[in-house]
């Protein structure tokens, strides 16, 4: 397959999404009516996705979309379908925007749109899908398949969230300094959720989910560029780039799971890691440590193996101590116990893990049992390790990881 048409197509699609998102955001920020903004531009966006890969991206992409949207409006059928709200919106674009479009770029309101989508009055579960739809123009069916829900359900949730933005009077505003932290956290969380959905498909065989990781990074870049002074926005982008850089190494050619410590560093994407390192270092100069910077720093310590062949476990342990203080969770605690085991020995690590045993949520959590099994195995308590591996295997849904755990379990008796 020739790769260049594929790249051209991707570039055209990215440009179309960029321009579409800017227009939707600009319009919605003025009317609070996201659905009507999307409706007004839907046809033009579809036309751009179809045409730009062949014709190239027009010189003024937003003006192009606007012109097509207006031409379609004249179409009698279209007029009937678009409805009153869409016509009003097109009129608004025409009147307010066209003059300024000639010389200057459209003001970028996408950040304000993202803050509206991740507002505390919006259900947390729909924030990431909502951002993907409004800022990137994905349809409900694509988003639904990525988040593993039915298209009808996702469609309903998105429609409901959009009418909620309008009816509840949710503002399109970047919050003031004093409340920015908490609200930005919701935006970053939504972006990370999108990335994580894509990341959970390591081989990238499910195209839609792989794209989701790419879109997560794209949104992360957007937020980092619009809020360059926010260390956590930079930290999140750094974290995602570190993870993405290791994608090719996460599975063997045969499709088997490869744990981080055994990954072939030759398969890591060095330029991406360098970019992640630079972002993290830059974030550190801003003051204000947070979970994303700490998690990125953990990734950085893991990738230190790239240079000197050793993973910096003492640093990782310290970082997990800090993460426990900033954003403690059972998941962080498990990772911390594993790091402790590397620094102070398996028995100490196991003790740190046993302290967590009271948490009911962990009983059905695969990484807890896998970590426990690994440490028990190192202490030579084969019987207990086997039991823990059985629990982990029974809880794992990914066949490749299951095979890996089964292999570890079988190796106990050798």
């Amino acid at each position: 397959m020739d790769i260049s048409p594929e790249i051209a197509r991707a570039a055209a699609e990215a440009a179309a999404r960029q321009s579409y998102g800017k227009l939707v955001a600009w319009l919605a920020a003025r009317t609070r009516d996201v659905a009507a903004a999307e409706d007004a531009l839907a046809d033009a966006f579809a036309a751009a996705l179809e045409r730009w890969p062949h014709t190239g991206v027009p010189e003024k992409p937003e003006a192009w979309l606007l012109a097509v949207a207006r031409r379609r409006r004249v179409d009698a059928v279209r007029r009937r379908l678009t409805g009153e709200a869409g016509r009003d919106h097109l009129k608004l674009i025409a009147e307010e925007m066209e003059a300024r479009m000639v010389d200057e770029d459209l003001p970028d309101e996408r950040l304000r749109l993202m803050f509206a989508c991740a507002h505390p009055a919006i259900d947390p579960g729909v924030r990431a899908p909502l951002i993907l739809q409004t800022v990137l123009g994905f349809d409900a069916a694509t988003i639904a398949s990525a988040f593993l829900v039915s298209p009808a359900t996702m469609g309903q949730r998105l429609v409901r969230a959009k009418s909620r933005i309008r009816e509840t009077g949710i503002p399109f505003r970047v919050p003031e300094r004093d409340e920015l932290g908490e609200r930005l956290a919701a935006v970053l969380e939504a972006i990370y959720a999108a990335f994580a959905e894509g990341w959970s498909d390591p081989t990238g065989t499910e195209t839609r989910r792989r794209n989701l990781a790419t879109e997560g990074i794209w949104l992360g870049r957007l937020v980092a560029s619009l809020l360059p002074q926010e260390p956590e926005a930079l930290g999140l982008l750094s974290l995602m780039l570190f993870a993405e850089a290791r994608r090719a190494a996460r599975r063997s050619p045969a499709g088997d799971f490869v744990p981080l410590a055994e990954q072939d560093i030759g398969l890591w994407d060095d330029p991406l890691i360098d970019e992640a390192e630079a972002l993290l270092a830059h974030a550190a100069t801003k003051g204000g440590i947070g979970r994303y910077q700490l998690e990125a720093a953990v990734q950085s310590a893991h990738t230190a193996r790239r240079r000197n062949g050793r993973t910096d476990w003492p640093a990782i342990r310290q970082l997990y101590d800090a993460l426990m203080a900033v954003a403690g969770s059972p998941v962080v605690a498990i990772n911390r116990a594993v790091a402790i085991a590397e620094v102070e020995g398996a028995a100490v690590g196991l003790a740190a893990l046993y302290v967590l045993g009271d948490d009911k949520r962990l009983m059905d959590y695969q990484p807890y049992w896998a970590a426990r099994a690994g440490l028990l195995a190192r202490l030579g308590t084969t019987k207990a390790a086997e039991e823990a591996y059985d629990r982990a295997i029974g809880l794992e849904s990914d066949a490749a990881v299951r095979r890996f755990l089964q292999g570890k379990r079988a190796a106990l008796r050798n």
């Binding site: 009153e84 709200a85 507002h119 505390p120 009055a121 009816e167 509840t168 009077g169 949710i170 503002p171 505003r173 919050p175």
Partner: protein, 122 residues
């Protein structure tokens, strides 16, 4: 935008608080109402008598069906309301958070469906 702040409180618990505490609560509401008025956000607001004074009315088959008591038996009951003017949901949420009931019960926030909007089908 106009918003209705509906105050839900546990009547049974309210009935048992010491007199001294009810004075404190009244003072807190007084200060809150004053703040709303000074800022220009206040449109209306009052306390409701406890739900034992509730009467539910329904028309069925041309007859007026009058029921003694509230419609739903819940732990918290509607105890009062404020109608405020706020620029957007953030401003309304900020007022709701300052309402004394937000610390002890629940403040339900609802935008008014302005007639001009629903007549226009929005």
């Amino acid at each position: 935008m106009r918003y209705m702040l509906m105050i839900y409180a546990d009547e049974a618990a309210m009935a048992t608080v010491p007199t001294e505490t009810t004075y404190q609560i009244s003072a807190a509401y007084g200060a809150y109402t004053e703040a709303l008025k000074k800022s220009g956000a206040w449109l209306a607001g009052d306390r409701l008598r406890p739900s034992q004074a509730t009467t539910c009315v329904r028309m069925a088959d041309g007859k007026t069906n009058v029921l003694d008591g509230p419609y739903a038996d819940t732990k918290e009951q509607l105890a009062g309301f404020y109608m405020i003017e706020a620029e957007d949901a953030d401003a309304a949420i900020a007022w709701a958070a300052r309402c004394p009931a937000a610390s002890t019960g629940t403040v339900e926030l609802r935008p008014i469906w302005e007639m001009a909007e629903y007549m226009a089908g929005k």
